[in-house]
């Protein structure tokens, strides 16, 4: 089995950050799928609205307080999130631990306020189609939030307990990318749920 | 006789002509493409093992032109077909002058048909048989009481869905008298198969006469047996769902029976309207149309024959 030649790749890194890593591609795959779900769900919201005589149907629009508060929390959480991504890519374990805990604090604060948000939607999922689609959007986003929070918790524990290797920092970095998606998708859902009912 | 290619009205004719155009173009396209394929394969079976690079390059230049021409012809053909579709569609969408308005409501598994009229007393309700005057366009306005159905009479018109919570409409126009069949085209449950209907087209005068007859309240039973049948009707489960104009029976969830004897079929085209078929239908509809909404009535034989006598008297 002699061949015409060989090509040596000795010494290539065994992991990498950013868009060359397979993890990044996997995360992007999930983001594309979930992003499509959000777009279609918002499309369904607008479709139902286009059919209705008046919108919202039989309920006042959701109260703005908690939703707006949450928007601010979520947008602010992008800062520690991005910082964590940076220190993860420098493989600075100590700072990664701090970053992850700060991120978690934001996430927990957000989840607590989210509970109040559900209380101030002024409608139930089984009231009418408006209530159903509002709940669908909110539950969808909350599901993503909860899964990412669990993911972050697991990563945080791992960062404290080990076993660690270099590519675990890739996981932290990609977790941040996913959080960016959770943050980035929210303003659209916020605008739909809270402001579309207020449109004339 | 029911075929989309044996149209009985101007609108169905337009669609049939368009269909023939598409068939003809498709046949030509198919023959050409398959001829090229067979030619290419035949050539390739006789060829030397492999072409040289120069020959391949030359052949590729020719192929490039051929594929380009093929693609261009495809675009032209499709554009032509699209244009003919748009033209026919535009003609069919033109609102007709002075149409007869008929409201069609879908039910599991029958058709409620109501002739619209400004005078409430002249609104006529019937079921499963659409009677229309020859030559006059008829606007059908569709909705559904339960699930989605689709109204289709192949020789007279294309389909239109009956959707709960929405109204749709379509025009039907027939230019020759006759009876044409159709059936529900959107799957609607157990008896989707036996949700049939017939279209009766007849000259305007005959249609008007039919309409007048149908507007009259039910005829009073004439014979002793029919009178007893009416009693059976009023005291059994019939009255909970059916109505007979001019009597106490006024429920609207099942077909109006005021002139049931004038119809050619019963059970949405499942059975001929004969006394024996009527009797077996009343006795055990679930054997004939399993899953239909009409329960068995378990009448004793003499009650049953009295009831059938009454129903057959409702001309």
């Amino acid at each position: 089995m002699s061949t015409s030649g060989v090509r040596d790749v000795t010494g290539l890194p065994t992991y990498t950050f950013g868009h060359h890593s397979l993890m990044w591609w996997g995360t992007m795959g999930i983001i594309v799928i979930e992003g499509t779900v959000f777009v279609i769900a918002i499309g369904a919201y607008l479709y139902l609205r286009s059919l209705a005589q008046a919108w919202p149907i039989g309920a006042p629009p959701p109260d703005l307080t908690y939703g707006t508060l949450n928007t601010i929390i979520l947008l602010l959480s992008a800062i520690p999130n991005q910082w964590t991504k940076k220190v993860a890519e420098r493989e600075n374990l100590k700072l990664v631990r701090i970053g992850l805990i700060v991120c978690l604090a934001f996430a927990v604060a957000f989840l607590v306020v989210r509970a109040f948000e559900f209380g101030s939607l002024n409608v139930h999922w089984d009231t009418n189609a408006y209530g159903s689609i509002v709940y669908a959007l909110m539950v969808l986003h909350t599901t993503h939030l909860v899964t990412d929070v669990l993911d972050t918790i697991v990563l945080t524990v791992l960062m404290f307990t080990g076993p660690l290797e270099g590519k675990r920092f890739v996981d932290v970095s990609e977790n941040s990318v996913y959080w960016w998606f959770v943050v980035g998708s929210w303003p659209f859902i916020y605008a739909t749920v809270y402001w579309v009912p207020r449109l004339p | 006789m029911h075929s989309a290619l044996q149209p009985v009205g101007p609108r169905a004719e337009l669609i049939a002509d368009l269909m023939l155009l598409f068939f003809a173009v498709s046949a030509v396209v198919y023959v050409i493409v398959i001829a090229f394929l067979v030619w290419a394969i035949m050539r390739a079976r006789e060829r030397a093992v492999q072409l040289g690079p120069a020959a391949t390059a030359q052949a590729d230049r020719k192929s490039k032109v051929a594929v380009g021409v093929g693609a261009a012809l495809t675009v032209l053909t499709l554009a032509g077909l699209a244009a003919s579709d748009f033209i026919v569609g535009a003609i069919l969408r033109q609102p007709p002058a002075d149409p007869l308005r008929v409201l069609v409501t879908g039910h599991q598994f029958w058709w409620e048909i109501e002739y619209d009229d400004p005078v409430p007393g002249n609104r006529l309700r019937t079921a499963n048989e659409l009677h229309i005057p020859v030559g006059r366009p008829v606007q059908l306005i569709f909705t559904s009481r339960d699930v989605i159905h689709s109204f289709w009479i192949p020789s007279a018109m294309g389909k239109m869905d009956l959707i709960p919570g929405r109204t749709t409409n379509e025009i039907i126009q027939v230019s020759q008298p006759g009876t044409f069949t159709g059936q529900c085209a959107e799957f609607c449950g157990f008896q989707h198969s036996k949700m049939r209907l017939t279209l009766h087209a007849r000259p305007a005068e005959e249609f008007d006469a039919w309409r007048q007859r149908q507007l009259a309240p039910a005829r009073e039973p004439q014979t002793q047996e029919a009178r007893r049948g009416q009693q059976v009707f009023m005291q059994s489960s019939c009255i909970l769902c059916h109505s007979v104009q001019g009597t106490a029976a006024a429920a609207t969830v099942a077909p109006d029976l005021t002139h049931i004897a004038s119809r050619r079929t019963i059970a949405a085209g499942s059975l001929p309207n004969t006394p024996s078929a009527l009797a077996s239908w009343v006795l055990d509809p679930q054997r004939i149309k399993p899953g239909s909404r009409m329960p068995a009535s378990r009448l004793p034989p003499d009650d049953l024959s009295a009831l059938v006598a009454y129903l057959t008297s409702l001309q």
């Binding site: - | 157990f190 969830v253 399993p290 899953g291 378990r298």
Partner: protein, 205 residues
Amino acid sequence: MCSRSSEPRERATAALLSPYRAGVASVVVVMLLLCACEREERQFSAQGGSSPSAASMAPASITLSDLQPGVSTQARRGERELEVNAFSISEGQRLYEWFNCNGCHANGGGAIGPALMDDVWIYGSAPANIYATIVQGRPNGMPSFRGRIPEQQVWQIVAYVRSLSGQARKDAMPSRTDSMQVKPRQVALPREEPKSSAPPSGNQP
């Protein structure tokens, strides 16, 4: 190049086998679902004793007192149907509206007639009691439907009426109808413990 990997036939067998292993794992699921048969059957016409006779139409013998000691076979059949069969409850729901039960009882909240969603049963909450109430009628406005509603359909209505207060199997109840929502969702309703109450103005049954 020759591979030392396992024989493809073995591998194909393994591939074939793995579904069976998974099948074993899903035995638990099967057990859970076995009860589905009763729930899912679509019974179009009454089975058994299908001799069309006026007698079966009018079970005059059903009264409250008769039923206490021993429930008739019809009642038992009806009872089973009502506890488990989704199609019966659904048919009952349709007939309840078609036969205008909602004209008096509204959608279970009660209006002219008493409410059916609460825990108060004037003439008994057992299926046979409700059957008798529909067939015989009751004082103060409840008409008799004897001869009007066929037996099987009465049992279906009984099934639906009982489901209104949560007496039917939850997984057999429909979540809502395709109409205006005028009552709370049925499956969300609490199961009411039936209580009996004296009929109004001393009309003992």
